[in-house]
Amino acid sequence: MTFVYPRESTEESFAPRLFAGYKSTIKRAPAKPLIIMPLTLSELTGPVYGHETVRERDNDLTVQHAGEPIGERIIVHGHVLDEDGRGVANTLVELWQANACGRYIHVVDQHPAPLDPNFTGAGRAVTDEKGYYRFVTIKPGAYPWGNHKNAWRPAHIHFSVFGHSFLSRVVTQMYFPNDPLFEFDPIFNSVADEKARMRMVSSFDLDSTQPDWALAYRFNIVLRGRNATPLETH
């Protein structure tokens, strides 16, 4: 199967590189024109390994330490798909997140919320033959940041995904449904198209909830790239 990577796919769905409401973009967004170029083998290929580093329990962030982390245990699962809706098999999914209090285990994050000795907040999984992945983790808390007065990030989980090519490679953030912080968050709102924005919001998934144990959220990740020779539709 030969893949094509329509430039329009990112133009329609991605945030601009410069988004003044998110202040850190101001000095870090390229200001000169980007060079449009024909895609070559260098761009059209991509790494298909990394999954051998995934250990048996890397997709369960609640069992990586001696004790259980504090917080709301959740299942986060879904499919990694291409633009045709085909599952992307055997691809690496990496994630990292704050703990239930909204604190990251990072030297720079010093806001006054406790660290959890039983929660590192990083995980890995590999999609199965249908493109399906599954994590068990703790629902992250909102956290304050210095972008503007009284700025808080909505609860989110960072996802890093590879796919078929260097062009499909994406790092995104998964949000939770109905978060009251959405309207105030410039990072979320840097994505102008509402439909695209809502593709970053997971859906509550009662059917996949494990009774007496964990709620479930579904998050499908659609990567750039589609079959160059689509089936004719009548």
């Binding site: 998110y22 083998l41 260098s42 290929t45 991509g46 990072h106 990083a122 790092v171």
Partner: protein, 196 residues
């Protein structure tokens, strides 16, 4: 057709998840050392720093590189168009340090075909991620000692006065050959980024 999932910044706190190194408990999935003992080819280092539009160092960015082996073979032949290569994987990841520095150990890539089967000069594809970047910026590393740069079809698309920003400068030190490649996200010396 399904719309794709938007990119979002890696933010300031990716290090413990993506590039923990010796600083955090998590283990690295990828390394900045691509030149494993079984790899053949010319061993080189690529080193540089990342700067923002004010010329300040960027200490919280992450770089990913992707390249073929010395014969121009990628480890992932999409659609069978690339020659198969399993010994050299060609993907690397490195976070910038507190002084904005990054480094890769790798081998000099061979050339691969470009548009209309014109050979490209040897190059490495590079993506830059950081807090304040809503998506990765894509660029290329070329090498100052390659005469093929003069006829490279992609470099030819870049205004002549900006091409230097894509060319790593060859130096040598006690440890061997090192190519210097600084990245300027913005400003007078802005690195050329590609719209792919």
């Amino acid at each position: 057709m399904t719309g794709i999932t938007p990119s979002q910044t890696v933010g300031p706190y990716f290090k413990y998840g993506l590039t923990p190194g010796d600083d955090y408990a998590w283990n690295d999935a990828f390394t900045n050392d691509l030149a494993t003992p079984d790899v053949s080819g010319e061993r080189i280092r690529i080193e540089g720093r990342v700067f923002d539009g004010d010329g300040k160092i960027v200490s919280d960015s992450m770089l990913e590189i992707w390249q073929p082996d010395g014969q121009g073979r990628f480890s992932d032949p999409q659609g069978g168009r690339s020659l198969q290569n399993l010994a050299f994987r060609g993907f690397g990841r490195c976070g910038t340090s507190s002084d904005g520095k990054y480094n890769f150990k790798t081998i000099k890539p061979g050339s691969v075909p470009g548009p209309n089967d014109r050979q490209q000069a040897p190059h490495i594809v590079l993506a830059v991620y950081a807090r304040g970047m809503t998506r990765q910026a894509q660029t290329r590393i070329y090498f100052s000692d390659e005469v093929a740069n003069a006829s490279d079809p992609i470099l030819a698309l870049v205004p002549a006065d900006r091409r230097d920003s894509l060319v790593a400068k060859k130096e040598s030190d006690a440890q061997g050959t090192v190519y210097r490649f600084d990245i300027h996200l913005q400003g007078d010396n802005e690195t050329v980024f590609f719209d792919i």
